[in-house]
């Protein structure tokens, strides 16, 4: 398999890609320990921010990594036949205090799917659901087309 074509995505293409998808992989780190989880998100093309709801428990590994405004990467990708595309958002994951919500922020979370990958077995009142915002310092995307038959 060889690469036939490779290209950087434009800013508008990145925005459209992130708005079209609703799940990705969020990566956090603490010291030398990595932590990555599948998450659901909503994306505001106007502000170029991602909005997340994350569920954790007091003793969970996730809670430890979420700490105070951790550096984070959100990776969203797709594969369609010979075409691959991916977007990487790098920035700080900031916790959003429900007491400081605005109508605009409520609408932005309205675009965010419920946490598809989270465990909702417990009753919701027992879950600790926290709101987060990722305003990327860097947003990059690329598309790759491969030739699967090449070299066979």
């Amino acid at each position: 398999m060889t690469t036939k074509r490779e290209a950087e995505m434009s800013a508008s293409a990145i925005d459209a890609f992130l708005a079209r998808h609703e799940t990705g992989v969020l990566s956090l780190a603490r010291d030398d320990a990595p932590y990555a989880i599948p998450i659901s998100y909503g994306y505001d093309e106007d502000t170029r921010e991602a909005f997340l709801r994350l569920v954790s428990t007091v003793d969970s590994e996730k809670r430890e990594f979420l700490g105070s405004d951790p550096d984070a990467r959100l990776v969203v990708y797709e594969e369609d036949g010979e075409d691959y595309a991916s977007v990487v958002a790098v920035g700080t994951l900031e916790r959003v205090d429900p007491a400081e919500l605005t109508p605009e922020r409520i609408a932005q979370y309205g675009e965010t799917r419920r946490p598809l990958f989270e465990i909702w077995a417990d009753g919701k009142p027992d879950l600790d659901i926290q709101l987060y915002r990722l305003a990327p310092d860097r947003l990059t995307g690329r598309t790759v087309t491969v030739d699967r038959d090449e070299g066979e």
Partner: protein, 50 residues
């Protein structure tokens, strides 16, 4: 937020906070900001005047 006009209590996750008219409209449109549950008028109560 301007002066709060209602208290929102989510019927599913039980999160609660005060909202103004604009936030009330946004919640009715977008659902609970914390868990995504649908929100109806009955989940938003106006303060009782004594």
């Amino acid at each position: 937020m301007t002066t709060p006009t209602h208290t929102f209590v989510c019927p599913e996750c039980r999160h609660s906070f005060e909202v103004d008219d604009a936030m009330r409209e946004a919640l009715l449109e977008a659902g609970c900001v914390v868990c995504g549950a649908p929100v109806v008028d009955a989940d938003l109560t106006a303060p009782t005047v004594e």
